[in-house]
C-alpha cells in the first residue's frame, strides 16, 4: 500500500520554495504569532524583490524584511510595534523612498483576502469607505458601477499571495494546524494563497492527536504544503499560550535600529550569521522558556518547554 506523505521540511528547505520576486503573505498580528524563524531565513537566503502582504497589524517580521532590502513593495495597513514604538526600518525606507507602499486599511486586507479565498476577483466595500485618502492615493483601489442601481462602489482587488507563511502553536506532519490563541488573518491568508502555504509550529503533534479533536484544527492540512517544526519560532514575538513577547529583545532592537548602522549590526548579529538553532542558542533557550505565557491554559500543549 502506498504511504501518505508527510510535509515536514527544514526551515531552509521551506524558504527555498519562495522565489525572489514573488508575493508573500506573513501571518500573525502585531507582536503575536509572527513567523519570525521563517522571516529570518528569508533574509539569510537573500530573497529579493518580494511583494509583501501584511496582516492588518505587522511588526518586526515586516520591519526586518524591509530593512534587509528583501521587499520591492508592501501592502499594509499598519507597521509598528504598538505600545513599544514605531517601526524604524520601515520609516527609513519610506522617508527615503526606498520601497513602494500600497497604503491600505484593515478592510482592504481582510476583504481582499476574503475575495481571494473564495476565488472572486474583487470585493465591493460598503458606502462611505472612500473618505480614506488611501482610496485615492493607492492605485489598487478601484470603482465599479452596480448595473442594477447605477451606484458606484469602491472595490478592493482579491489578494492571492504566491506564498503564505504562518506560525501556530501546533501542527501535525500532514499540515493540520492548531492555533492556541486567536487566528487573526492566518486562516484567510492560507486559503487565499495561490501556490504555497508554509506553516511553522512550536510543537509537532501526531495525526492521532489531531484526529482525537478535529474541531480544534484551524487550518486543514489539505491546503498546507510545508510544515516546519520550529520550537520558539515566534521569538522575539509571542506565541499565544506558549511564551511571552521578549520585550527586552524588542526594545533593544528598536533602540539599536534607530540608525541604519545599528540595524545592520542587528542583522549581522542575530540574522545573517546564525541559522535557527544557533539563533535560539544565542538568545538563550532558558531565557525564552523563562517567558511562559501565563493567563490562559489551553491544556493542550506540553512538549515545548521540555524539548
Amino acid at each position: 500500500m502506498a504511504e501518505r506523505k508527510e510535509k515536514l521540511l527544514s526551515v531552509e528547505q521551506a524558504v527555498a520554495l519562495i522565489a525572489s520576486g514573488s508575493s508573500v503573505a506573513l501571518g500573525g498580528l502585531g507582536l503575536y504569532g509572527a513567523p519570525m524563524g521563517v522571516a529570518r531565513e528569508i533574509v539569510r537566503q537573500g530573497k529579493k524583490e518580494l511583494s509583501l502582504i501584511l496582516s492588518p497589524g505587522a511588526g518586526l517580521q515586516a520591519d526586518l524584511l524591509i530593512g534587509a532590502g528583501c521587499a520591492r513593495e508592501v501592502l499594509c495597513s499598519y507597521i509598528g510595534f504598538e505600545d513599544l514604538g514605531l517601526a524604524p526600518a520601515f520609516r527609513r525606507a519610506v522617508e527615503s523612498a526606498k520601497i513602494e507602499v500600497f497604503d491600505a486599511d484593515e478592510a482592504y486586507v481582510v476583504f481582499g483576502l476574503k475575495a481571494g479565498a473564495a476565488g472572486s476577483p474583487f470585493f465591493p466595500l460598503a458606502e462611505g469607505m472612500e473618505g480614506f485618502d488611501g482610496a485615492r492615493l493607492n492605485p489598487k483601489y478601484f470603482r465599479v458601477q452596480d448595473p442594477r442601481t447605477g451606484k458606484s462602489h469602491l472595490c478592493v482587488p482579491a489578494i492571492n499571495p504566491d506564498v503564505t507563511v504562518i506560525h501556530a502553536g501546533q501542527c501535525d506532519p500532514y499540515g493540520n494546524v492548531r492555533h492556541l490563541g486567536s487566528r487573526f488573518t492566518d486562516c484567510l491568508m492560507a486559503k487565499a494563497a495561490r501556490r504555497r502555504v508554509i506553516v511553522s509550529c512550536d510543537e509537532l503533534i501526531s495525526l492521532e492527536a489531531t484526529q482525537q479533536e478535529p474541531q480544534l484544527t484551524s487550518v486543514p492540512g489539505f491546503i498546507v504544503d510545508a510544515v516546519v517544526h520550529l520550537p520558539y519560532g515566534c521569538h522575539p514575538t509571542c506565541s499565544p499560550s506558549l511564551y511571552e513577547r521578549d520585550e527586552e529583545h524588542l526594545r533593544a532592537y528598536l533602540k539599536q535600529s534607530a540608525t541604519e548602522e545599528g540595524f545592520r549590526r542587528y542583522l549581522e548579529e542575530f540574522v545573517l550569521r546564525l541559522n535557527f538553532p544557533q539563533y535560539i542558542e544565542r538568545v538563550g533557550r532558558g531565557k525564552i522558556s523563562g517567558l511562559p505565557a501565563q493567563g490562559i491554559d489551553h491544556g493542550k500543549s506540553g512538549s515545548l518547554h521540555d524539548s
Binding site: L29, G30, L31, Y32, P56, G57, C76, S77, Y78, I79, G80, E82, D83, L86, A87, F90, R91, V94, E95, A97, D103, A104, D105, E106, A107, V110, F111, L113, K114, L125, A126, E127, G128, M129, E130, G131, F132, D133, G134, A135, L137, L180, G181, S182, R183, F184, T185, C187, L188, C238, P240, S241, R245, A293, G295, I296
Partner: protein, 261 residues
C-alpha cells in the same frame, strides 16, 4: 491643605470616556488603546450594563480585563469574554454599519476631527512616516467616534491633517453629507491629557467643554494648532470619583498600566 491628586492622567481619560458611553451601544476598541478598553469595562460596571464592546485584535466580546493585557492582540484579552470571533468577523460588523462607537486617535487630529496615522508632510516624500491607517477608515461606517490621546500638542492638533486615515467632519458643515455620510454621525468627543472637547453642531468645529484640573486656558491654546471654539461655560473636568478609581484599580487594571504609561 488641598488633597493631593490621587489619579493619573490616563485614568482621568478612561473615566471621562466611560461617562460618555451609553447603555445598549456596541463598541470596538482597536490597537494601543488602554484607556478606551478600560473605559468600556468601567462603563459596564457603572451605568451601562447592556453595553457591549469588542476587543478588536483578539476578537473578544465583553472580556473582563482583569488584568488589562499589554496589547489588543494579546491572547489574554479573551479572559472572561462571552465570545471570541475572528478579526474578519469584527470587520464584518464594522463594514455592515452595526457598530455604534469606535475609539480612535492619530499622529494628527484636526479641527474637524479628521484623523491621520500615515504621514506628516507630503505623502510622496513624508517628513515623518506613521504606522498606517489600520481600522480608522471604518470610522465612516460607525455612528459615533470618541477621539482620545495623551499627546495634546500643536504637532498633533493641527488645522488640517496631511492625510485622512479616519473621516471626521471633513471640511465642515455639509461635507459629510456630500460624501454620502450622515451629517450628524462622526466624532462627538475628544479627551486628551489637557481637556475635554466636543464638536459644535452648526460649524462642526472642535469646541472646548472642560479643562482638566490644573490646566490653564493659556496652556491649552498654546498646545493647540488651531483656534478652538469655547462652550458657553467652560468647566473643570470632574476628576474620577473614589468608586471609579477603586473599580479601575481593583477590578480592571490590577497591574496598574494606567498608572505607569
Amino acid at each position: 491643605m488641598e488633597k493631593a491628586a490621587a489619579y493619573t492622567i490616563p485614568e482621568l481619560i478612561a473615566v471621562t470616556l466611560a461617562r460618555h458611553i451609553e447603555d445598549g451601544w456596541l463598541a470596538v476598541v482597536g490597537t494601543a488603546s488602554y484607556e478606551a478598553a478600560i473605559a468600556c469595562r468601567l462603563a459596564q460596571m457603572t451605568h451601562a450594563p447592556n453595553f457591549t464592546w469588542l476587543f478588536g485584535g483578539i476578537g473578544a466580546a465583553n472580556p473582563h480585563l482583569k488584568p488589562m493585557p499589554p496589547s489588543t492582540a494579546d491572547f489574554r484579552g479573551i479572559r472572561g469574554a462571552e465570545a471570541v470571533i475572528g478579526i474578519d468577523e469584527v470587520d464584518d460588523y464594522e463594514l455592515a454599519g452595526k457598530v455604534d462607537l469606535f475609539f480612535a486617535g492619530g499622529i494628527q487630529i484636526d479641527r474637524y476631527g479628521n484623523l491621520n496615522l500615515v504621514c506628516v508632510g507630503d505623502y510622496a516624500k513624508p517628513r515623518f512616516r506613521g504606522p498606517g491607517s489600520v481600522g480608522l477608515p471604518f470610522l465612516s461606517r460607525v455612528k459615533k467616534v470618541f477621539i482620545f490621546t495623551r499627546m495634546h500638542n500643536p504637532r498633533v492638533f493641527v488645522n488640517k491633517v496631511d492625510f485622512i486615515s479616519g473621516v471626521g467632519h471633513l471640511d465642515g458643515p455639509g461635507s459629510r453629507a456630500r460624501a454620502g455620510l450622515k451629517e450628524d454621525d462622526g466624532p462627538s468627543l475628544v479627551v486628551t491629557n489637557l481637556a475635554v472637547m466636543d464638536f459644535d453642531g452648526a460649524s462642526k468645529r472642535m469646541r472646548l467643554q472642560s479643562l482638566h484640573p490644573g490646566v490653564s486656558q493659556a496652556s491649552l491654546i498654546e498646545n493647540t494648532g488651531f483656534e478652538l471654539l469655547r462652550a458657553e461655560s467652560v468647566r473643570v473636568t470632574q476628576p474620577p470619583t473614589d468608586n471609579e478609581l477603586r473599580l479601575i484599580r481593583e477590578e480592571i487594571d490590577t497591574q496598574g498600566i494606567l498608572q505607569r504609561i
